[in-house]
């Protein structure tokens, strides 16, 4: 009797021993907004992340993957709490997600202090690419000023001489408009910053823009605010008389509600659903098959984030305790991005193309069509401020 017990005990120990020595599973924390008015964005990101996991049989480097999704409630302080929980009690290996610049900026410190890798899938806070960059921070998106920079380049090229700017008064809004002004060669006739996210009626700002009589209006309103802005732009009689340019305000989530109000509006992105590479075709087709909707750029960046993590896990054979090796593997970006080629600059932000897109109506559907390449292999402008310590 005693013998059998001992044997059983030994067998148990034997079974447990390898597991203790090596990583059993990959744990990823994903922070995004899953409640409130912008929950649609968070859901789209989660859907894309899950699709990426499906495509890799829910295994990275042969190890099962566990993703813990946390809702930041659209608020920096909640995002920070949820991030701390992921780090301290769930002890995740990677943190990804983040839609909002102010949320990621409030949350990044505990991540990098615990030497956990942060893969930002959207939020483009410039300080994280510049003076506050870290070996542990990577982004599959951009910084807030890059896409507006591309739009301004395109407008210069088109010979637009004057513009009126409208955007929300928070980190991303100010950085976005600053990026635009940095590149625009014409005259900025005026700029308005609105209270974010509470102000939804832009009548006063639109009246001022109209009175200034610019050749074009540039605006930045992500999420539902973009729908409101376009509706009001049309109602104020500006649509059709003053061309509208934007970034991040029109996507596959908001377009079904923007409809005619969005037709003809031009924006810039590093990705679009009609890019012809194989990874993108597979992503777009399977996304539509699984969820019945078009993927947004938020989804595309999250899909890339999952694949980036998987590439690093595979390259290090699941040995995530060697932080320097993981960092090296991430820097290689050895995965097929849906935007085509993908490589990181020295500050861990991608060097990439920016494409101009115009909203067109085809039959009864509204889509964003790629019409031109505004900038090719554009490096992140904040790399020079990053010392990578």
């Amino acid at each position: 009797m005693r013998k059998t017990l001992l044997a059983a005990g030994a067998a148990l120990l034997l079974a447990a021993a390898p597991a203790a020595a090596q990583q059993k599973s990959i744990k990823i924390g994903f922070v995004s907004t899953f409640s409130g008015p912008v929950a649609a964005i968070g859901n789209d990101m989660r859907n894309a992340f899950e699709l990426a996991l499906d495509h890799m049989d829910r295994k990275m480097g042969g190890l099962p993957v566990e993703v813990i999704y946390e809702d930041d409630g659209f608020k920096p302080e909640i995002g920070k709490q949820k991030t701390e929980k992921l780090i301290e009690s769930d002890k995740v290996d990677f943190v990804s997600g983040f839609i909002w610049s102010n949320v990621v900026y409030a949350s990044y410190k505990p991540i990098i202090e615990s030497k956990t890798f942060l893969i930002i899938a959207n939020a483009g806070e410039t300080r994280l690419a510049g003076e506050n960059c870290s070996p542990f921070i990577f982004s599959t998106a951009w910084t807030n000023d890059q896409n507006p920079h591309a739009v301004a380049d395109y407008m210069n090229h088109k010979g637009v001489k004057s513009v009126y700017l409208i955007g929300p008064n928070y980190a991303a809004g100010k950085e976005n408009l600053a990026g635009f002004k940095d590149a625009f060669k014409g005259k900025v006739l005026g700029e308005d910053y609105t209270t974010w996210p509470s102000q939804l009626d832009f009548s006063a700002e639109l009246a001022k823009a109209k009175a200034a009589n610019p050749e074009a209006v540039y605006m930045f309103y992500p999420g539902a605010a973009g729908v409101q802005f376009l509706n009001q732009y049309a109602q104020a009689g500006l649509k059709g008389s003053i061309p509208l340019y934007t970034t991040f305000s029109i996507d596959s989530l908001s377009l079904p509600r923007q409809k005619d109000a969005a037709v003809g509006v031009i924006s810039a992105l590093q990705w679009s659903a009609d890019l012809p590479n194989d990874a993108n075709k597979k992503f777009v087709v399977d996304f539509k098959k699984k969820y019945g909707t078009e993927p947004s750029f938020y989804a595309a960046q999250s899909y890339d984030a999952a694949n980036l993590i998987a590439s690093a896990v595979a390259a290090t054979k699941g040995n995530l305790s060697d932080k320097a090796a993981v960092q090296k593997a991430l820097e290689k970006a050895d995965f097929k991005s849906v935007r085509g080629g993908f490589k990181f600059g020295p500050n861990h932000y991608p060097t990439q193309n920016y494409y101009m897109q115009e909203v067109v109506k085809e039959g009864d559907t509204y889509t964003q069509k790629t019409m031109a390449t505004a900038e090719e292999n554009q490096p992140n402008p904040h790399a020079s401020k990053c010392s990578m310590k």
Binding site: N43, D201, A204, A207, Q235
Partner: protein, 305 residues
């Protein structure tokens, strides 16, 4: 000058819309002594109903009328099912109870309509700007909002000041016990008043829907302004709500329109463009603080003449 006229119209329109929301709130607060945080949920329901009915019937106006009726019914149902348990209890219980209702309605909307939100497209005769004066174009829809709101304000005035129900409402605002003691069916009156408040909130929501979007939680930001108006105008006073709503609408819009330029004259560029939106959104709270200091009861306290 053209710009100033247009901004005044914007302020007037915003103020009138706020009046609709605040009128319902002040009625419920003043007469039933009930703090109703869920007023914003009824605003949201009005918008969701209108978007749904307009899509079903294919007519914006018909959709709006049906939505108005639906919010009235929902409001009365909420009064019978939930609010009745809260009368005579502490204000903190009202806050807790109606906050629960907000969560309930937000989740209910998510279950029924999904998390993505809806849109309520305008018919073409409303979506174009019209010439109102030589050289001044203004959104036809915003003009329509003003017309509807002024009509409703007139209707409320007649209802409250000239009818028997209105007399009871005013009496209820002054002294509820006495009204009940005189044999008035206060229960029925309360259900009616709450339903009316709900319909007003729903009307505000459905009229705001084509300008903003129809989405979960849309009523929460604007509800704060409605509370500010109730406090400024005097709790329970429709007239106070009207004056205060116009004041807030004008100050908010004109502040946003002209304050940044004003500030630019004193401060440097970047400092002014950061500070201006923050300061102009504070203006209405400064107004509220001033009113609270000078006239703690509000501009037109109910019960007084």
């Amino acid at each position: 000058m053209t710009l100033f006229v247009e901004q005044c119209l914007n302020g007037l329109q915003f103020g009138l819309l706020l009046f609709l929301l605040a009128a319902g709130l002040t009625l419920v607060f003043g007469i039933m002594d009930l703090v109703n945080l869920a007023h914003g949920s009824l605003y949201m329901l009005g918008a969701y109903f209108a978007a749904t009915f307009a899509a079903w019937t294919g007519s914006f106006v018909l959709g709006a009328v049906l939505a108005l009726g639906a919010t009235l019914v929902v409001g009365m149902a909420v009064e019978v099912v939930a609010m009745r348990r809260l009368y005579g209890r502490d204000h903190l219980d009202h806050v807790l109870g109606t906050f629960g209702l907000i969560l309930f309605f937000d989740e209910a909307v998510r279950l029924i309509w999904g998390p993505g939100g809806l849109s309520l497209p305008l018919p073409s005769w409303l979506s174009q700007p019209v010439h109102i004066l030589p050289g001044i174009e203004y959104s036809a829809y915003r003009l329509a909002i003003m017309a509807v709101t002024l009509t409703v304000a007139g209707f409320l005035y007649v209802l409250v000041m000239r009818t028997r129900v209105g007399m009871l409402i005013r009496a209820g605002a002054s002294n509820r016990e006495m009204v009940a003691a005189l044999g008035v069916n206060i229960k029925l009156l309360y259900t009616l008043v709450f339903g009316l408040g709900a319909a007003l909130a729903g009307l505000a929501g459905l009229m705001q829907a084509p300008i903003l979007t129809v989405q979960i939680g849309m009523g929460e930001n604007i509800l704060i302004l409605a509370f500010v108006i109730t406090v400024i105008g005097g709790i329970g006073s429709i007239r106070g709500a009207f004056v205060a709503a116009l004041l807030v609408g004008f100050i908010d819009t004109l502040g946003r329109a002209f304050f940044p330029q004003l500030l630019h004259a004193f401060l440097g560029g970047p400092a002014a463009s950061t500070a201006a939106p923050a300061l102009s959104s504070m203006l209405i709270y400064i107004l509220m603080a001033v009113v609270l200091v000078a006239k703690p009861e509000g501009l037109f306290p109910a019960g007084a003449k």
